[in-house]
Symmetry: C2
Subunit: 258 residues, 2 copies
DNA sequence: CTTGAACCTCACGCGGCGTGAGGAGGGAGG
DNA sequence: CCTCCCTCCTCACGCCGCGTGAGGTTCAAG
């Protein structure tokens, strides 16, 4: 009965590839105890035990460096597992959100029997839009809805950009400033507010009634209006209050007057 | 009102980095329509529309090459979404399995108050082992259990390897051969069977009663015996039947007799 | 004209190997 | 002894989506 293995034999027995064993040797994760005079790797029973441990830890989804640290003494297993579990949980949450979006999209596509070229983008675009318009209609009269739609149409492709790219980004930035403790009176926040008001004016034409209605729709159902079903209402409510505070506080001095 | 953007402005507005825009330009995903005489990138409204589409598709988790193909005409959106959904589903299933294992392990670790060095491996090892022994005890008398344990102990670290590395690998290989349509009488299958019987003899000492009991335990609860809670009983039952068939059929000729 | 910010183009790095290229060791058969 | 073929070895580049400098040009303001 043999008690040592050459690279190929170990690879075949373990289901790994020779290249993987070479790699693990190169990074010092699993170094064969011996070599023949010609430089051929010889794995012993101890190496096998280590291989088994590596496979066990790899099965937990740990990266190779962590596995090495684990085996070469020096990690707190409780913390390691707890942290890793947290990582896995967040990855799982992200994937679940994605799955929801995809399956909704898939349904949308299956429904429009005929499949043309940019059908994917159309469907992607349409998904959830009907709901957003319904919400808007609850807060605006038909004439205002038509005016909003007309202004959006006249902006062309830029409308999509302003609504779905720049606007969410402004919101994200407001959220970052807020959580960094920046006071609402800070000039950076004021610049954000100014840009957002500018964008809003593009769509509402400066009509206070329309913009109030739009704001009400966002307050009612941020996840519907933003088109992101995973959006947390709190992620919108708190920055909104922060931005309102910016609009109503006195400016902070920003260096000497010119 | 400006209708063009420089790299930095577009990056800031979209929340991407300048490097990302450079990269997307380099791979031809988003090339600015114009450049200044000095070579500075100038993005137009059309580029913005494309950027918006890219971000929308990226939000679905598609890779950049697929996104490019999508936008430059030439994919079936129905198939694309269906296939991608399938990918996401399998990733999700894998992650859920992993999460189950990790949380069980976490509980195991929390239970053994004191944390020593190789506690993680101990816990990993112990998880589910008690259940496997309970299953075994239902199929073997105490003397046989003791004999099994004694033989396993005398094998040392190699026992872990045989049980948890080589044995599952042999099973996986059997499953592959089976699904490839290889007949049970094929010499490759016979070699597998011979090796598995050899391994079994290492643990049972050739005692037919013990090996029958072990086989019964595996038939009853493969997921418990293998230590993999996600194991599908069918993944063991069918290869097992296949291997049994190999043991009871006549050999196929493998070239001319010597 | 000078400064400083913003822009440009290389080019390496990451993780975990896959996939050759090009060469040497080793056992079986002539 | 030589030849054949299989297994082993060591580089070294490629993947994906950028991050992160290094080192040089251009632009707008003072």
């Amino acid at each position: 009965m043999h008690t040592t293995w050459k690279t190929g034999a170990l690879a075949e027995a373990s289901g790994l590839t020779v290249r993987t064993l070479h790699h693990w040797d190169a990074i010092g994760l699993l170094t064969p105890s011996r070599r023949t005079a010609a430089g051929h790797r010889v794995y012993t029973g101890n190496d096998l035990a280590r291989l088994y441990q590596i496979l066990a830890l790899r099965g937990l989804g740990l990266d190779l460096e962590t596995i090495g640290a684990c085996l070469d003494a020096g990690v707190d297993p409780v913390r390691l597992v707890r942290d890793h579990l947290a990582e896995v949980d967040s990855a799982l949450a992200a994937l679940e959100t994605l799955r929801t979006r995809l399956s909704r999209l898939s349904a949308e596509l299956a429904q429009d029997g005929a499949v043309s070229g940019p059908a994917l983008l159309d469907a992607l675009h349409a998904t959830g839009r009907a709901a957003a318009q319904a919400t808007l209609r609850r807060h605006l009269n038909p004439a205002s809805v038509r005016e909003l739609a007309g202004r959006a149409a006249s902006l062309g492709p830029a409308a999509h950009y302003h609504l779905h790219v720049e606007w969410p980004e402004l919101y994200r930035r407001a959220a970052r400033l807020r959580s960094a403790g920046t006071p609402p009176s800070d000039p950076a926040v004021r610049r954000l507010v100014a840009r957002m008001d500018e964008l809003a004016a593009l769509f509402t034409g400066g009509d206070a009634g329309i913009s109030a209605g739009v704001r009400a729709a966002w307050r009612e159902a941020p996840h519907t209006m933003s088109g992101d079903p995973a959006a947390d209402p709190a992620d919108y409510r708190e920055p909104a209050a922060y931005l309102d505070a910016s609009r109503t506080t006195a400016p902070t001095p920003e260096g000497p007057h010119p």
